[in-house]
Symmetry: C2
Subunit: 614 residues, 2 copies
């Protein structure tokens, strides 16, 4: 078939050539028609910066002085101390007032100081992504600007490629211009810091639309100095692919938006009692009995793609296999396979007697075969992910009546000298957790992976120290803002990741019984101060009422609001962030994310005129 393919490629190339010629002709005539028909061409909205705000005014086209900012985006770039940067830089930041036009064809990258091959490859790819983002933002009608040249020099001082809580994500960015030459220098300790620098650089550019032919061009500020590093090392978003399956494409798109907001952890709640979509070559039954369909499965190559796509964008994929509760579909084949019940209560009705949400299911701590199956699953997982920086074992909402309804479990508990009190069941749960940790360490071959668990009865500050080692376990709390659990765990010396239930749960509101937290509420959620154990936080997009079709709007720009809170932790509130947030939302939209609208366009075009941003 190869000769056919070659012929086909030739035909397509020739066709494209003809198409180009045709298009150019068409575009030109279309422009002419627009010029005649459009009522607005005699007259423009223009923007000027006054008191950190871009203000709209009406200007007849004839009176447009050269350099007038017909584009709000261009005005925003140099208006106020931080322009359009999101999240706020935390160090010294100076942005000049002047703008220069440029084109993506005239950017070159100097990576000559990077001798490490892997780092060179990473930064070369990061530079391509940077250019691609600018191209996407400028669109098809982007004007070529011959004169200006941009030279971007990137230097890193380490060859570190591990991405975790210890990673130095800081960078400095310096941009100077002389005539038509713009020189950018990004210095960082790691490639991840340098990548953040490129992200900031892209936010120092804008699309300018101020010509009668409808074309746009890119502009960049003529002078910048930024020194920047994040306050918290864990800035995450949870995606749940068990309640509703999310195609890989939706997850990749989400990583793009996370990278644009300098978030660094995609917490992948891959499995739950509803479905087990993750393919495990050693235990194919999990997906076979657990997936919604043969199309709704993550193959090992899907997983590799996610992990490497994320890493290239400074986003680590943190896998969660939830258990012992929140496990059902995918675990129902044990008896048939001669392994006994791997899970109990699976799909039982009436569900509210056996679990918190249907379908029910809870792993069987009494069955030694469960740990053998887990060993195989963990082996597969450890081959696909990099685990030095953490694995999430779930651990929330264990429903004791389920275990209590299993004769096998109750009998086994008796052999362990356990009764049937709440504390006895918690001990059984602790046993499960110890076994799991042992299995993990045996498979991964060392005992260094931090293990993350949801806050639960087992992590109750009154008893946690009996069961969970503070140097090994990190607790992800999902308590309400008013709860004292974070303070108590931190005081005991535990590290915590905070997912404040009544501000950072992105599914709230849609149920009917909870309140939607808009981006302002998300932004204004400050974390406990004075503890070094606070690693950061996550917004959680629980999946019951969302799938690929409404994912973007439910996550963005709310997750980005949390991103600024965790990167910069400013003393200021959402009121001061409003103008920049709206621009960041527009940036996400230009990059292909269907983010929610946050204000009427009039308020966007007239900064400071709509109440809460005054």
């Amino acid at each position: 078939m190869w000769f056919l393919k070659i012929i086909f490629v030739c035909m397509v190339s020739l066709s494209l050539l003809f198409l180009c010629i045709l298009c150019l002709t068409e575009i030109k005539s279309l422009d002419n028609r627009q010029l005649n028909a459009n009522i607005r061409h005699e007259w423009w909205w223009t923007w000027s910066c006054s008191g950190s705000r871009c203000r709209r005014s009406e200007t007849p086209a004839a009176e447009l002085p050269s350099g007038t900012q017909c584009s709000l985006q261009a005005c925003r770039l140099t208006c106020g101390r931080f322009g359009a940067l999101w999240p706020l830089p935390t160090g010294h930041t100076v942005i000049s007032q002047k703008l220069l036009s440029f084109h993506t064809n005239n950017i070159n990258f100097d990576l000559s100081s990077i001798t490490d091959k892997a780092c060179h490859e990473f930064l070369s790819k990061a530079s391509q992504i940077f250019v691609q983002n600018l191209k996407t933002e400028c669109g098809l009608n982007c004007s070529f600007v011959k004169e200006t040249h941009i030279s971007v020099r990137i230097r890193v001082s380490t060859t570190e490629l591990t991405l975790g809580w210890e990673t130095d994500e800081g960078y400095t960015l310096e941009l100077t211009s002389k005539g038509d030459l713009i020189t950018v220098t990004i210095d960082a300790s790691t490639v991840y810091g340098a990548r953040h620098g490129l992200e900031s650089l892209s936010q120092l550019t804008a699309v300018h639309q101020c010509s009668k032919d409808g074309r746009s061009n890119l502009v960049i500020v003529s002078g910048v100095k930024i020194s920047d590093r994040p306050v918290y090392p864990h800035r995450g978003l949870l995606l749940d692919t068990s309640r509703n399956f999310l195609p890989v494409s939706a997850m990749l798109r989400t990583i793009d938006a996370m990278a644009a907001s300098k978030m660094n952890v995609l917490h992948w709640h891959a499995t739950d009692s509803h479905s087990f979509p993750l393919q495990s070559p050693r235990v194919p039954q999990l997906a076979k009995y657990g997936a919604y369909s043969e199309q709704e499965v993550y193959s090992t190559s899907d997983v590799s793609e996610l992990v490497s796509y994320g890493q290239q964008r400074g986003v680590r994929v943190l896998l969660e296999i939830d258990g012992p509760a929140h496990a059902g579909m995918g675990w129902q084949w044990g008896r048939e396979a001669g392994l006994g019940d791997l899970a109990v209560c699976v799909g039982w009705q009436p569900w509210h007697k056996y679990c918190i949400q249907p379908p029910c299911g809870q792993l069987n701590p009494a069955n030694p075969n469960l740990y053998k199956v887990m060993a195989d699953l963990f082996k597969d997982i450890s081959e696909s992910f990099s685990y030095s920086s953490g694995f999430h074992m779930g651990g929330d909402e264990v429903f004791l009546p389920c275990w209590n309804s299993s004769q096998e479990i109750v009998d086994w508990m008796q052999t362990q000298s356990l009764g049937r009190t709440k504390l006895d069941f918690i001990k059984a749960w602790a046993y499960y957790q110890q076994q799991l940790l042992r299995v993990w360490d045996a498979q991964v071959g060392h005992s260094k992976t931090p293990i993350i668990l949801w806050s639960s009865h087992l992590t109750d500050p009154a008893i946690i120290q009996r069961y969970l080692d503070k140097d090994r376990y990190v607790i992800q709390t999902w308590v309400e803002k008013a709860s004292d659990v974070n303070h108590l765990l931190l005081s005991l010396g535990y590290r915590v990741i905070i997912t404040t239930k009544d501000t950072w749960y992105l599914d709230h509101g849609f149920w009917g019984s909870t309140t939607y937290h808009n981006w302002k509420v998300v932004y204004d959620n400050k974390l406990p101060k004075g503890f070094k154990g606070v690693l950061g936080g996550e917004t959680a997009m629980w999946g019951e009422l969302v799938d690929q079709f409404s994912l973007d709007a439910k996550v963005w720009p709310r997750a980005a609001a949390m991103a600024e809170r965790l990167w910069a932790d400013p003393n200021s509130s959402s009121i001061e962030a409003e103008n920049r947030l709206r621009h960041h939302r527009q940036r996400l939209v230009r990059r292909g994310i269907n983010a929610e609208a946050v204000a009427p366009e009039w308020c966007f075009q007239n900064e400071g005129e709509c109440g809460s941003d005054r």
Copy 2:
């Protein structure tokens, strides 16, 4: 350039030919790979109907009996009395149990009894849309089925093409089969009824996936009898294009989803104080000063497209030009043009002193030039829309302190022997409304158009009769469920369109201070009984926090839930509707609407197992 175009077309055709050959080869080899690699092919989820519910079970592929329903969609088609129909038919409905496979290439339409040319054209186009919908749903991998032939005979008894409250939307549908021949007869009074019949017919088909080669095919029930007509004649959705602009494409897509749900009124809240995106050839200043940009304008050809696209799908576009409040941007050029202030308080700050929401603005009832401008605008509008069935003049939230702050208005009121009490201002408002009606009638040339107004101080049941003729005005109420305003207005003999604020406002929840109304709440909102003045209702997608990117998910499937309430008004509640609603949501998604997810997929695949649908 024509010779180039011809060469180009030839090249493309040849390329496509090669591509086809390549694809067929690729698909075949891909299938083989999938067969080997995919863990699920040895084993299937299958569905069977039990007690009106489709239940999932596991079946090894080897044991798949012929005729097993590997597709939940196919199971749903004949499970329960109403299968997958949305909205519920209101008359006699019988659906047989058997399914037949078919392909869209083998459907022919018999319109021989339709002698009226316009009706023939309408139904011919409606048939094409029907076929296109099935093609879209079946997708690219749709198998051809040679044997079965479907013959659809459509008959209408009138040549009526006006679409309004009087339109008879009823239809009967009969489907019989004999061997490989399926005969469908749709009888209706109007083409709109016949179109609904086709919509129901499309809902009697499903995509069936039960073959190892990954291909799908369409199935249809083998016998049907439906007699159906709506309970309420006004089943609307409000779109707001002033707070945020919506491109025409987003509005057309919305019309598709409305048609799929048998809704019939797109209430176009085109203008507000934020922007005036509607181009008026006679008054170009409105869009010139009112649009967000030259791209964010509806040209007269855009309007024609919307109106005719809607009509072809049984959806009438009902235009609203809001006033005297909710008018600002677009009206600020009067003084410059020598016409005096057409509106007052435009953009004034601090806004809360002059309006309910920024930017402020209120039309100037004292300026005779306002009515002259309105005459021109109305003339343009009457040329683009069909007005026998209504025009919406807005009329909500007049903010008296704005008028009170204008010396011109206060002086004019004095000449009208009006003081400055609340009632005096309401009289000024009533004067404005009378003038507007006179202008409208003068332009349209008759006094038959029903005029719709929002409920307000002016429509207060205690005073409405003094100002608004019940035969001329229809009141669209936007009061809360508990309010007695609907009952009072109905008792006075007014016709009302109901937009229950605390159930049918689709923007609620996202503000932070209001509650999101999920589809169940929307569905369970029953209208006042025992009054013939209830024309129906609308869900309202106010536009402050939505634009084209999240529109679909905020509107759908919630608007469809209201559609069933208004079409069928069943005694049953959302609990009984849950399984069908989920299927209708999937149908909208298959047709390209990014509707919100309403449940975990497990609950969709296991009907009746998730609580509220038990």
